[in-house]
Structure formats: structure tokens, C-alpha cells
């Protein structure tokens, strides 16, 4: 169980595709003009990621190593084609607003990256969890950026008009780069702080048993929690 939780946390936060690894940037910049577009793109990528991870993981012993990249790309392209048909039929508004970026999910580095680094080596359940976690991490990042840009750029929240105050800069292409840069900086700042605190706590835990090896406070604190 612990292994699955670690995979999930890794994909969601520790190795967040958008803010930590800076992958899939084209879609992130283009489709965060409003929160709803961000959520739509994020969930589309999550769906493709889950399906492609599962299929690649199932076929990992069949695909020869030398032609694995073309094989992965064909699998991903098939999933995107299916998704495109489904969106065209059931959510035509989202289909229109995503435009050319819907077929471009094929060349989203996150999906090929997870296929190559994870799904081609791990069992099906692990790969499925990894796909969902990475996809939801991407969705969360896109939603955060979409909410910021929509709130400042058009004064609304998920399409609900809140006030008339608007800064056009944030919905323009320049604003996309600016908000993305600031989000990465903030994420790096926070994760550095957390890591520093974590390392300080580890150092303290290690030092205390060395002074008094019999009562080991690190372990008892964990048991109480």
C-alpha cells in the first residue's frame, strides 16, 4: 500500500509535471486563459495518460526495445484520436476551445515521458496510479494558473462574473508567461522551505538517539501519531 501512496504523492506534488519538471508547457500556457479550459485540458491529458499507461504497461513484455518509442507514439495517438471523437460528440464547446491543442496532446512530453520512464517497466496497477496522479497534478497546476489568470484578466471565477475590474495583460500571451514564471518560482520557494524543514527534522531525530540511545523519541512520536 505504501508503495502506491508514494507513487501518487510523487506524481501529484514532489515531481509535479508542470511546476517541478516544466513539461507540457505549450498546453499550460495556451489553455489557462480561463479556469474551465485549464480543467478541461488537464482532465483530457489525465484520461489519455491513464489509458496509454495501462496499455503500454500491459504490452511492456511484447514491445521490442528497439522500436519502443514509435510503438508508444502510436498507442498515444490512438488514445488521443478516441478522446477527440468523444469530446467532439459529447462536449463540443470544450472541443472548440481546445482547438489545435487537442491533437497536440500526442506530443505532450508528459505522456511520452511517463510511458518511457514508468509504464514500460512497472506492473499495470502501479502504472495506472502513476498515470492518474501525474495527470491530476497537471490538472491541479493548470486549474491554479487558470483561476489566477481568469480572476485578474477577466474578473470572473469559473465563468461567474465577480467584479468589473480587469487587467487585460493576464489574458494575453505575455501574461501567460508571467503567471507561469511566478508560479514556478513560488513552487520552488515553498518546496525548498519544506525540504529544508524536513532535513532539519531528520538531523534532529538522528542526533537525539545518539545522545540517549535508550528512549529513542523519534520512534515513540511516530507511534503516538
Amino acid at each position: 500500500m505504501n508503495k502506491y501512496v508514494k507513487t501518487a504523492v510523487d506524481g501529484l506534488i514532489t515531481n509535479n509535471a508542470t511546476f517541478k519538471l516544466v513539461l507540457g508547457t505549450c498546453a499550460t500556457l495556451a489553455l489557462t486563459t480561463s479556469a474551465i479550459n485549464g480543467v478541461g485540458m488537464g482532465l483530457s491529458v489525465t484520461a489519455v495518460l491513464l489509458l496509454s499507461n495501462v496499455v503500454i504497461s500491459l504490452l511492456r513484455k511484447v514491445i521490442p526495445n528497439t522500436v519502443r518509442i514509435p510503438a508508444f507514439i502510436v498507442i498515444i495517438a490512438t488514445m488521443v484520436t478516441i478522446l477527440r471523437m468523444a469530446l467532439d460528440k459529447f462536449l463540443p464547446d470544450l472541443y472548440d476551445s481546445m482547438g489545435v491543442f487537442l491533437p497536440l496532446i500526442v506530443v505532450n512530453c508528459i505522456i511520452l515521458g511517463r510511458a518511457e520512464a514508468f509504464a514500460s517497466k512497472q506492473p499495470v496497477l502501479d502504472s495506472a496510479i502513476d498515470g492518474v496522479a501525474t495527470g491530476l497534478g497537471f490538472t491541479a497546476a493548470l486549474t491554479i494558473m487558470g483561476v489566477i489568470r481568469e480572476l485578474l484578466g477577466s474578473g470572473s471565477f469559473f465563468g461567474i462574473q465577480l467584479w468589473d475590474f480587469k487587467i487585460g495583460f493576464f489574458t494575453s500571451s505575455a501574461g501567460a508567461f508571467f503567471v507561469y514564471g511566478m508560479c514556478i518560482a513560488l513552487f520552488t520557494l515553498i518546496s525548498n522551505r519544506v525540504e529544508y524543514a524536513h532535513r532539519a527534522r531528520k538531523a534532529r531525530e538522528l542526533r537525539v538517539p545518539a545522545e540517549g540511545p535508550l528512549d529513542a523519541p523519534g520512534i515513540s512520536a511516530k507511534e503516538e501519531a
Partner: protein, 203 residues
Amino acid sequence: MLGTIITIIVAALFSQNFILVKFLGICPFLGVSKKTSSSVSMGIAVTLVMVLATLVTYPLYEYILVPLKIEYLEIIFFIFIIAALVQMLEKIIEKLSPSLYQTMGIYLPLITTNCAILGVAELVIGSGFYADIGLAAAADMNLWFALLYALFAGLGFTLAMVLMGGMRERIEKLPIAKCMKGFPITMVAACFMAMAFYVFTLI
């Protein structure tokens, strides 16, 4: 005719710049723009593949996929053609000019997963695009306009890459806060470049 050609050139280079306005090909823009020389190599490689890919994908879509009514297979066909083209180009350059291969070789495999290439192949067959480049109707699009657009979109990509490369060479030497180093400061620099290019969309 001449008006359309000029509109396509200006749109592809500036007002619809692939990187700064359309957000296509951001990965190489951030990944290989540390030096001006590598930016130029990447830009030329992308332009070359873009034109060749359009030369194959546009006729394929118009004369094979549409008559056979299998348009829905476009993504799979296009990505396969691009991957094969990149592989072929790599082998040809390796044989013809080993020195060019040395400078360009490492960027070629990366181009397969560059959204700008698949982007241009998808854009020139899409119907929601003709107004952007000054055409009256989707039916006015033909192979020559598509190729012209691909060529200048590639040059626009190169332009943005080179500008960014020059900027980053200078940014490297500046004292910047730790959390802003790397991607964040590059994004802010790109933001100012995008503001400059925004002026072209107002014309």
C-alpha cells in the same frame, strides 16, 4: 495574390509567431536556448522539418485521407510521417555532412515531439485558421500557401529562439534570487518578448 503572400509572411513571422503568440514549440524554446549558436541550429532544423512535413502531410490529407473518408486517422498518420521524416533526415545529414551532423544531430530526435511541427501540419488543414493568414475562405488554402506558411512559421520560430538565446546569455551573468533562477526568470524574459510581439497583432 501578392497581398495574401505578404499577409501570410507577416502573420507567420510576427503577429502569429509560433512561440510567443501561439505557444507552440515551447519545450525547445526553454530547453535549448541557453546559447545563441544552439538556438540557431535548433531553429534551422525545425524549419527544415516543418517544410518537409507539410510537403508530405498536406497532400496526404487532401488527396488520400479526405477522398477515402478516413480523416479521423490524421493524428496517427501525421505523427508517423514526422517521426519517419526526422529519422530519415538524421541519416541523410549524417552521411552528407558529418560536421553539420555534429552541430545539429543532437537536436534532430527532439524534433519528433516538438508541438510546432505537428501544430503546423494540423493548422494548415484546419478550417478555423484561414482568417488568421488573410484568406477569404478555407477552400482558398492550397499546397503553396501551406508551404509558405510552414517556411515562415519556422523562421519566426528561429527568430524567437535566437532573441531568447541572446537574452539568456546575458541573464546568466546577473545576480538573481535563488527561487527565480532557471525557468522562472526565463519565463519573465519571454513575457517581455511576448509584449513586444503583441504590438504586431494590433496592426
